[in-house]
Symmetry: C2
Subunit: 633 residues, 2 copies
C-alpha cells in the first residue's frame, strides 16, 4: 500500500514488476525524466526490504544516500517485503509503505495464492430470517449459512448475537479463521453488521505482524483480506533500560522477575498497534490477530514466561513451539476473538526471528546452498537448502549495535553509516538522514575499519598505528585525523566542529578490538557450520545479510575486515527486516505458517560453545588479512 496525500491504495503484487511502473500504474507520481532508462537518477524513493543496490544505483546515488535507504524506482522490482516511501507534493515526511503480498520464495510453491490462503477472512453473509418453518437458533443459522463448522465466539459475543442479527436485518459480515491443511475448515470468530447496501466491501480482517527484536520492534498492519501489509511502524525496544542485550535482560528477570520486562513489551506493542490503527482509520479492537517473531528471550518476555532457563546451561526455554494465546490473556486490548500467535523457534538461541528470516529468504526451499547471516543484537547464521538446515548463534552483536564501542550508536539519525576515502585522500563520513553526526553505527564501523586497513592505519593485528608509524602513502587529510585519545592512538571519524554535540566522533584501538571479536565470531561460526554440514565454502551459492546491522553493511567492507570470506563477497545480497517480512508472510498465509513449523523442526542447532573447531577458527579469524594497498576498495 502507498499512502499518498492521505489516500490509501492497496497494491497486489502478482508478478515481478518494476517499482516505477507499478507506482505509475496506480497514479503515484514519481519524477522520472529519462522514462526509467536508468540515466537521470531522479526517481528516488525511500525503501526498506530491497536487495543490494545495482551498478546503476551505485553510479547515480552517493553511498550515503544509498545507506540511508534511498533507491531508484526504475531499478527495483516490487517484490514482497518491499516498503516504499514516495515524497509527497508537500514534501512531508509522512510514513508511506508498500509491502507486496508475501509471494512464494523463488524456488517452489509457484501456484500459491496468498489471499485464498489467508488464515483469517471476512465475508458478507445474508441469512434468511427465521420463520415457523425454519426456526433454527441464531448461532446455528449463522454457522450453517456461513459454512462454518465451529465457532470461537466468546460468551459475550454470543450474548450480543440475537440483537445484532435483528438490527442488521440478518445481513452481517463474518470473520473466520481457516484452519487445517488438507481439508481446511472455517471457524467463526466474530460477527459485525454488514456495511450499508451498495458500499464497497468492508476491508479486513485486520492483523498485525511484529518482529520483537532486542533493540528494535517493528509492527506491520496487515489487511488479511488482500494478504498485504498496509503500514509499518518501528521503534526502539522500550526494555532497553532494563538491559541492552538478551543476557542482561535475562539477568534482570532472574533478579526482579519478568513482570517489569513484560509490562514494557505489552505496553509498547499496545501503543504501536494503537498508532498503526489510528493512522489507518481503525481501532485496536479491529485487530483480529497478532503474529509475533522475535528471539526466544523476547517471546518469553512478551508472554511473561521466565527466561531464566535460557540464560544457563543446558539452555532450556519454557516453550519454543508455535503457540497461541488470547490477546486478553497476554494483556493486549485487541478484538475479543484475537489470538496472539508466536512463531516457532528452534532452540534457546535460534529463535523465531531466525525461523522467520529463513522463511523470508526462502532458504528452506532453495536447491542451492544458501547462507543467512543475521546480524543484529545477536548474530545467527543459517546454512542450508531444501535438503537440510543448520544454524548457530554467535555473540556478535554488541559491537555492531554500538554497545561496547566508545562512540557507538544504533542505526539512528546522525549515525555514521558509511565511511570512505575520496580519490583526493579526504575522509568522507556519511550519516543516516544526512544529520549532524552523533556516533558510529555498525555499518559505519565496518566501513571505517575496512578503509583504515586499506590505508594502512590499522595493521593486521588490529593495532591503530601512532602517527609516527604511519606508512608513507597515507594522505595528509587522513594523517591529520590520527591522534591520541586518553594516551592511546585513535582516529577522528568526525571532527568536533561537524558533530552534533561538539565532541569528536573517534575510533579507538579498543573499538577495533571489539570489531575483531565480533567479526571473528561470525567468521568462525560460518566455518563451524560449514564443517558440521561437511560442505566446502565454495558450495555456498548465495549469502543473505539481514538484521538491524547486517542488512545495511557494505559486503565489500565485510570481506575486507574478514567478517565474510572473500569468495562469498560477490554472492552476497542484503534483505532488510527479514524476520519482519517472515512474520508478515506467516501471518498472511497458512502455508507459510506451516513452513515456519517445518523450518523450526528441521533446523539442526550447532552448539558453538562446545565446539573445539569453532574455538580454533575464532582465534584464527581475530586478525586481519594483510594490507592490500591504497587503491579504493
Amino acid at each position: 500500500m502507498v499512502l499518498r496525500d492521505g489516500i490509501s491504495l492497496s497494491v497486489a503484487v502478482e508478478d515481478a514488476v518494476v517499482l516505477l511502473e507499478l507506482l505509475a500504474d496506480h497514479g503515484i507520481p514519481v519524477d522520472a525524466p529519462c522514462g526509467g532508462a536508468g540515466t537521470c537518477g531522479k526517481c528516488v524513493v525511500q525503501v526498506t526490504g530491497a536487495g543490494a543496490p545495482d551498478a546503476v544505483e551505485r553510479a547515480l546515488l552517493p553511498p550515503e544516500r544509498l545507506a540511508a535507504g534511498e533507491r531508484l524506482a526504475c531499478r527495483l522490482l516490487a517484490v514482497p517485503g518491499l516498503m516504499v516511501t514516495v515524497a509527497t507534493a508537500r514534501g512531508g515526511a509522512d510514513h508511506k509503505a508498500e509491502l507486496g503480498a508475501p509471494a512464494p520464495a523463488a524456488a517452489g510453491a509457484a501456484a500459491f495464492s496468498p489471499v485464498a490462503d489467508a488464515p483469517l477472512r471476512r465475508r458478507r453473509v445474508e441469512l434468511p430470517p427465521p420463520s415457523l418453518d425454519d426456526s433454527a437458533a441464531d448461532l446455528e443459522r449463522l454457522l450453517r449459512h456461513a459454512g462454518c463448522g465451529a465457532h470461537r465466539l466468546s460468551l459475550a459475543a454470543l450474548r450480543a448475537l440475537p440483537a445484532l442479527l435483528r438490527a442488521s436485518e440478518y445481513r452481517v459480515d463474518v470473520f473466520e479463521a481457516v484452519e487445517g491443511a488438507d481439508e481446511p475448515s472455517a471457524t467463526l470468530l466474530a460477527v459485525a453488521p454488514a456495511g450499508a447496501p451498495g458500499a464497497v466491501e468492508s476491508p479486513g480482517p485486520w492483523g498485525v505482524a511484529v518482529d520483537l527484536g532486542t533493540t528494535t520492534v517493528a509492527a506491520y498492519l496487515l489487511d488479511l483480506g488482500t494478504g498485504h501489509a498496509v503500514d509499518v511502524h518501528a521503534e526502539l525496544n522500550r526494555q532497553a533500560d532494563l538491559g541492552a542485550d538478551v543476557l542482561s535482560r535475562i539477568a534482570h528477570a532472574r533478579e526482579a522477575g519478568v513482570a517489569g520486562l513484560q509490562r514494557r513489551a505489552v505496553t509498547q506493542l499496545e501503543a504501536m498497534m494503537q498508532l498503526l490503527a489510528e493512522r489507518n482509520g481503525l481501532e485496536a479492537a479491529d485487530i483480529l490477530g497478532l503474529t509475533v517473531a522475535g528471539n526466544t528471550t523476547m517471546l518469553h518476555v512478551l508472554l511473561g514466561l521466565d527466561p531464566a532457563g535460557i540464560g544457563a546451561a543446558p539452555f532450556v526455554p519454557v516453550t519454543t513451539g508455535a503457540r497461541a494465546f488470547w490477546a486478553s490473556e497476554v494483556g493486549l486490548p485487541l478484538h475479543p476473538a484475537a489470538l496472539v500467535r508466536t512463531l516457532p523457534a528452534a532452540s534457546a538461541y535460534i529463535g523465531a526471528d531466525t525461523v522467520a528470516a529463513v522463511l523470508a529468504a526462502g532458504i528452506d526451499e532453495g536447491d542451492g546452498l544458501s547462507l543467512l547471516v543475521d546480524l543484529g543484537t545477536n548474530g545467527e547464521i543459517v546454512l542450508g537448502s531444501a535438503s537440510g538446515l543448520s544454524a548457530c548463534s554467535t555473540a556478535a552483536g554488541p559491537a555492531f549495535e554500538g554497545a561496547r564501542i566508545r562512540c557507538g550508536v544504533g542505526g539512528v539519525q546522525g549515525a555514521v553509516a558509511a565511511f570512505a576515502i575520496s580519490a583526493e585522500g579526504v575522509p568522507v563520513a556519511t550519516t543516516i538522514g544526512g544529520a549532524p553526526a552523533v556516533g558510529l553505527c555498525g555499518a559505519g564501523l565496518l566501513d571505517l575499519v575496512a578503509a583504515l586497513l586499506e590505508a594502512g592505519i590499522v595493521d593486521g593485528g588490529g593495532r591503530l598505528l601512532p602517527e609516527g608509524e604511519l606508512p608513507d602513502g597515507v594522505p595528509d587529510a587522513m594523517r591529520g585525523r590520527c591522534r591520541e585519545v586518553d594516551g592511546r592512538p585513535a582516529f577522528v571519524v568526525v571532527p568536533a566542529a561537524e558533530a552534533r554535540d561538539g565532541a569528536p566522533i573517534v575510533l579507538t584501538e579498543r573499538d577495533v578490538r571489539e570489531l575483531q571479536f565480533a567479526k571473528a565470531a561470525v567468521a568462525a561460526g560460518i566455518d563451524a557450520l560449514l564443517a558440521a554440514a561437511g560442505v566446502r565454502l565454495e558450495s555456498v551459492e548465495r549469502v543473505i545479510l539481514t538484521g538491524g546491522f547486517g542488512a545495511f553493511l557494505d559486503p565489500r567492507s565485510a570481506v575486507r575486515v574478514g567478517l565474510l570470506p572473500a569468495v562469498l563477497g560477490p554472492r552476497t545480497e542484503a534483505l532488510a527486516n527479514a524476520a519482519g517480512v517472515g512474520a508478515v508472510m506467516a501471518a498472511t498465509s497458512r502455508a507459510h505458517a506451516r513452513r515456519c513449523d517445518a523450518i523450526a523442526a528441521r533446523l539442526r542447532v550447532v552448539e558453538l560453545s562446545a565446539s573445539a573447531a569453532f574455538a580454533q577458527a575464532y582465534v584464527e579469524h581475530l586478525g586481519f588479512a594483510p594490507l592490500r594497498g591504497l587503491a579504493a576498495p
Copy 2:
C-alpha cells in the same frame, strides 16, 4: 461409589448384577436374613434411578415406602444410573450414592468401554530431565513425553510450568482432553506434581454433570478416570422466585434482563459443586469439566443468553448446539482449564434434557418403537427407535408440579404421593417420607383422581359429585370425605387433624379440571406423534416414564385417568433422572456425547400448536373413560 462410614469405594458395574450381591462383594453390610430369596423384605435400600418395583417389592413394601424410594436390594439390578443409599450402622442419614458406569443402552455398542472413552483423563508422566544433549523446552518436552498433540494450558499455567517441573523432579500428572472420533488425539489441559512415590495413583480427573431443571437441579460428581458418578446432590432451582415455569422466567428476562436469573443459576451451581467437592475431599478448582443438560431456556439462563426468542413465535433460541465455554467465562470458579459444555437441544422446546433422556433410555438405538414421556415442569414426548425419532412438547406441567392445584405441592417431604381405598373402603393417603401431610403432589393427584373415578365420586366429565348424587356403592368412610368447599363439591384427602398445618388437604373440581387439561395434553401429544410418524398405538413396544413427576407415578393410575392409553400400561417402566443420567453418560464418554449430537440432529420436532389433529385429540381426551366399578385397580 458407596460412602460407608466415611470410606469411599468405587464400584464398576461390568455386567448386570443383583445389587445385594454387589454390595456384599464390596463388604457393604445389608441385612438379608432370607439370603436374597425375596421373602424377608429386610434388605431395604434407598434408591433413585431404578425401574418400577416388581411384584415381590410391591408385596413386601407398603406403597408409601416405595413412593419414598425404598426398594429391596435383592430385587434390583445394579444398572447404570442407579443411586443407592445404605443405612449405616450408626443409622446416620449420610448421603451415599452408587451410580454404575454409564454402560451402553441395551441395544447396540456392546463392546464399548466407558473408561477408555473418557473425554478427560489423568496420567502419570515421568520426563527425562534436560541435558546439553536434550535441551528441548519445558512444554515441548512435556507434550512429547505425554504424547499430546496440542495444549490448552492457560498462559498462567504455562508460566508456572518451569518451576512445577523442577520442583516435582519431572514427575507429573497430566490432565488431557481426548478429542476426535476416528483418530482421537490428546490435548494437554493441566499439569500437577505427581503424588508421592508409592502412593496409589491419584484419582480423577474430576468432572460434574448437571441436569438444570426448571424446578430441580441435580449435580453428579464424576470420576472421569473410572467413568463413574461418585456422588450426587439435588436441590430446588433457586430461580423459582423469579417465575415457576419456563414462560414466566422468559417473561422476567424480557422485562428485567437475564442477568438476575443467570446470577442465581451460576451461584447455585457454584454452591452445589462446592458442596460435592467438599464432601469428597476435593476443591471446586479440582473440577476439570462441567457438562450441563437442561431445557433450552435453562441453558440460555446459565449462559446469560437472552431467552426472549424462545418465548414468542417463531420460537428461535440463540443457540441449540452442543457448546463449550471456559468456566471462567460463565463465572464458575472451577479449574482454570475447565470448560462448561452444554448438551445439544433439538429446538426451543425440545431441549438438551430431552436429548439426554433419550440417550439414557436408549431409544435412539432400540430396534423396537419406544415412547419416552418426560413429565416435569414441562412435558416432552419422544417416539422412535434406531430408524427415526420425533418429539413434541406439551403444556402438561403445572398440574403435575402442583402449581395450579389448590393444595398442590412438588415432590417434597409430606406430599401425598399415593392414594388408595383399602379393602375396607377406607381412604389411605401416603406421604413422602411418612411425614405429616403438607399437600398433594402429581403422583398423588393422579392416584387420587383414579381412585375417585373408580369409586364413582368423579364422573366421566370430571365432575366431583355432591354428596346427594353419590352412587350407592361408595363406602361410608369415603362418603364422609365428600363435602363442600367455597360452595362447590370437594374431597378431603387428608383431614385437618392429620395435616401438618392443621388445615385439610382437599381436592376441588377445579383441580380435577386442571388434571384433565394436563392429561389430555399428554394423551393428545402421544396421538399426534403417532399420527405424524404414521404408526399404530399397538406398535409401541415400550413406554418410559421419566421426569420429576413422570418417574414416580403409578402407571395403572396413568392409564385409569387416560394419561396413557390402556394398551401401553403393561409396557410402561419408570426411569428416574433420565436427563441427569444422560448428562452423566455424555460427560463420561465421548461416544455418548457424539450420540447426543446425533439424537439432537435426528429429532424431528412436531409442532402441536399448528396441528389440527392435536387440537381434536385434545378435546376428545378431556373426559374420563366410563366407570369400571369399585374393584381395586
